[in-house]
Symmetry: C2
Subunit: 308 residues, 2 copies
Amino acid sequence: MSKLVIVGTVAFDAIETPFGKTDKILGGAATFIGLAAALFKVDSAIVSVVGGDFPEKYLDLLSDKKIDISGVEIIKEGKTFFWSGLYHNDMNSRDTLATELNVLADFQPQVPEAYKDAEIVMLGNLHPMVQLSVLDQMNSKPKLAILDTMNFWMDNALDDLHTVLKRTDVITINDEEARQLTGEYSLVVAARKIHEMGPKYVVIKKGEHGALLFHDENVFYAPALPLEEVFDPTGAGDTFAGGFAGYIARTGDTSFENMKNAVIYGSTLASYCVEKFGTERMENLTRNEVYQRLQEFKNLTQFEIELS
Amino acid sequence: MSKLVIVGTVAFDAIETPFGKTDKILGGAATFIGLAAALFKVDSAIVSVVGGDFPEKYLDLLSDKKIDISGVEIIKEGKTFFWSGLYHNDMNSRDTLATELNVLADFQPQVPEAYKDAEIVMLGNLHPMVQLSVLDQMNSKPKLAILDTMNFWMDNALDDLHTVLKRTDVITINDEEARQLTGEYSLVVAARKIHEMGPKYVVIKKGEHGALLFHDENVFYAPALPLEEVFDPTGAGDTFAGGFAGYIARTGDTSFENMKNAVIYGSTLASYCVEKFGTERMENLTRNEVYQRLQEFKNLTQFEIELS
C-alpha cells in the first residue's frame, strides 16, 4: 500500500439543478478526491486551506474517514473558497453563478512531513504553480503524479500548466479540455499530443459517455453506467480521480493493466457521487455497494466472442 | 443459420467531408446493411427499387457478395433515389444538400417468394408503411424483426411509425431520436418507454460514443473504437444494423447474451465503414480484418477485477 497526498480545494458549494437547490454545503476537489480514496482505506492526507468560517464538523467528517488533515491550513480571519453553479436541464452544461477565491487567493500548500515520502501524489484542479509547489516539496520524485486541471488554466496559465505537465505521469482531463489543450478534435490524436507534453498516461473523461485511458498505443474504454437520472454532477470528475488514485495507492501497482481497474473504480464511484447533492452520497457509501456496482459494470461491458 | 430479408434504399450518394468530396457513388441503407451482413455468409435478400440509371456493376457488386437481388425492382424509365450531404468539421453534424426521392416515391416492396419464410427481417430506414408492408408479406411472424428509423418519420409519420413499432422486436435508433420519440432526456428512461411501444430490445446508437443495448432491466454498452480520424460517417449506422442482423442470422440465436455479441460485431463493422468514402471499405473488408478488430474491442473493454 502506498501513501497518497491530495492537494486541492476544500470549499463551500451552492448548487442548483432541475431537482432542487442547496445552501452552502461541503464541496471542493480535494474533498471529493479524499472521500473517494478513503473507500480504499489508504494512508491519505489532504493539503488545502480554509477560512475561519469553515465548520468543525466538515473537518471532523474528513478525519473520521481517516484522512490526515494536518495539511489543511485554517486561516481564522479568512473566508473559505466558495463556488456556486446552476445546472441546465441536460445536466451537461452549467453556469457558474459565483466564484469567491477568498483564502485560496494566496494559498501556499504545505505538505506534512509524514507525507513527503508519499509514492502517489494527486494534484487536484488548482493553479499549476500550486500543483508544482507540492511536487517540489516531495523528498523525491513520486512513483506516480496524477494531475487534474481545467480549461481556466489553459486560458490563464498555459505556460505554468506545461511546466507541471512535464513532471506529471497521469493527466485526467475532459474531452473538450483535451481538444483545447492540443487543438485536435480526434481524442486519439489529442491523447498522443498530451503524451508528448509529459504524461505517459492520459485519461480523457467524457461525462455520461465514460472515460478513455491512453498509454502509448494502448487504449481502454470505461463507459459511464447508464443512469436513470443524474441528480447533481458536482464532484463527479474529482470522485473519478479520487477512485483512480485511491485504487492505485491501495494496490501500489502502476501498470497499464492495473490502471484499467483504477478507471473502472473511478467510474463506479462517480456513478454514485451524482445520485445526491454534493458529497452526501459519498459520505455514506459502503464497500459492499461499490462491489455491487462493479458487478453491474462487468455486466455492462463484458462479452464472450469466440475468435476463430 | 437463418434467412435474412433486408428492406431499404439502394441509392446514389454524393458526399462532401473535410477530407474531400465524391461524385454520385453507391449508397443506400439496404446496400450498407447487405454488405455488412454478407460478411457472415448468410442467405440474404435485398428488397428495394432503383431507376434505369442505376449501373449494372453496382447490382453485380451485391450479387457477387451472394446477396439475392431478385427483390430489387428496376424501373427503367425512373431515376434512382439520390442523397447528397456535407459533413462539418466535427463529423457529428451534417447538412443535407439534396434529397431526390425519384423511384422511391412510389416504392411498393415485393418480398421474393423464397424469402417469405425468412426468420430475420431487417427493416432499414424507410417510410413506416413500407416497412409494415414487408412484415405483412411474410408467411408468418418472423423470429426477429429489426427496425431502423429516423427523426424524419417521427416528424412526418408518427402514427404509422407506432403501428410498425408494435410489430418490431428490436429497434436501432440514435440518441437524439430516442429522446425525440419519448420526450425523455435520460436514455435509460427513453429505452423503457420505447420498450412499451413494442420493441423488446432497444439499441441506442451514440456515434463516436458507442451503442447501448437495453432489454428489460439489462443494459450492455459497446463503445465505438476510438479512431484517429473518421473519413466519412455515411452508412455507419446502417453498417452497424447490418452487422447486428447478420450475426443474429448467422447464429440463429436471439438471446440477450448473443445480442451483446451482435452489437460488438455491429460496432466493429461500423468502425471500418467510416475509414473510406461510401461503401469502398466494406466492399473489400475481409473476415480476418474483422477478427483483428474484434480483438481490439476486447482489449478496449475487457478488464479483470476480483470482487471480494
